[in-house]
Amino acid sequence: MRLFTSGSNVHKLIASLAVLGAAAAIAGLGTYATFTSSTSASHTIATGTLSLTSGPTNRLGTGASLVAAGDSMQRAIDLNYAGSISFGSATLTTNATTSSALDTDTTDGLHMAIDKCSVAWTESGPPYTYTCSGTTSSVLASAPVVGSNLALSNLTLTAGSTDHLRVTVTLPGTAGNSFENLSSTIAYTFTGVQRAGTSQ
């Protein structure tokens, strides 16, 4: 009987400390929050939205075969920014769902570079090539084809706008015979992150 009473107290203590901890956490969060209020007036706070989509141009799903050392592949993709909040930055993460030395050899394996046209790219082919009737700027300098959270430059990022990108994947001319008859499949994920917090 004594043991039962004692155990009950223990449970109460644990519960109390957990609640205190949670309360402290929430209080801590309050120190980072954008809004605080000490008045008794009520107000409504509604968060914004942001959405990053691709298309209508998206040729990244078009692969290439019979690639030789020195060959390059151009593929266009449009990134669309939507929502009520603008983007602050964007990154690209690529991974190989089917892997070979084409994606694991960071020296002689596949490399990619991304540039942007101020207007939609003019496509010809296949094999696809693109020309820009506007102005071009570099979004990503040449880098191994598989990378994580690669920072992208010169994007508009403004809600309601579209960036017209051209991804160029190249097998360097230095790729030797060991790169013959290989296959890699690359998946691309663009991530847009909201702008920095501001006063509202």
Partner: protein, 391 residues
Amino acid sequence: MRPHGRHRSPELRRPLRWGAVLGSALAAFVVVSGSIAGLSSLATGGPQTIVTKRIFSGPRSVNAVDVRDASSGAETNKSDALSFADAVVTATSTAIASGTNRYLDFTFNSGRPGGLSVSSPQFNFRLASAGGAQSGNGCFWFEVRSGGSVIGTHGSYAAAAGCSTGVTQTTISTSIPEVTSTDQLNGLVVRVYPWETGSPGKTKVVNLDMATVTGSTYSAAFTAYETSFVDDTSGTPATTPWFMAAVDGTTYTDATNWPAAVTTTKYLKLTFDPGVPAGSVVTAVSLKNVWHASAAVTNGGTLCYYLETFNGATSLGTHGSAGSPQACTASGTVFSTDTIPLAEVNDATKANNLVIKLYYWVSPTCGGAGNPVCVKSVTDQAEATFTYYLD
């Protein structure tokens, strides 16, 4: 009086500590999560599959292995004695018994594209005892060497890789699965330890007829031919390069002086075996001919040639003519190096069946008082280069 609560029992202290730890952890987690959270959105592209060609474009060179000398008007086989089972044999320099550790080194050509898998590789060695009183059989075991390292051993003095029956030439083909890629195959060295099993004190030399490596890449059969042969059966290595293989001063002088006027019955005939896989796209073929006259051509004459290419026995084209030689020289010492594009050799079949006839003559004439002297040709290298790729 101290508060009762200050004297917690041990069973109470442990849960108390755990509660504090859990609460603190929860607090830390929520705060940190809150500090890094933000809105984000993803867009995806691909997947994008990229596949490379089976064989990248590149030049692959092989020397002529089958050479026929028709300078007299009748063909004579001057092919590499060690490349064909043709009864043209090479005897070891010394009679050799079992257990001597003396060897023969065969270095094979490098005519295959690198980086390819090799299927069913085997070493084909044809030998026999040279015969004589109380002679026995020709036997051998061998090592396979690549990049200076032994990558496989086949047989021993106690268990031969193969033997002939007496003086009857016998081909022994031994699988060499340690050769897995053309990177190993190109420039492969096979070190053969031969011996003759004749009665003690009566050991004989061994006659060698053929040493080749065969196999396939992308279902295309190939034969790798020796380009250099080292005979160490005497204990002192003696190297014999195949004369067509390299610009090395090891040359071939044709049998008979070339005529005063070109004729298609007098020629040097060269056959190549590049082993180009079927379906390959052949983008360029060329012949490199390194040669000079056997002596200075006097009285303003020159030794000249033009050439004709064949797909087996079918003529493909000519380069030069009697009236417009491909090249001429008056020198009996200075080698001329001619590289001649052969655009008509434009697919794998033509490449694999390529035969070239070089028609030599002394221009404008030779022989007789006041005329240029009639001369032979001296060839240091005849090599064909095939540039191709396979999708």
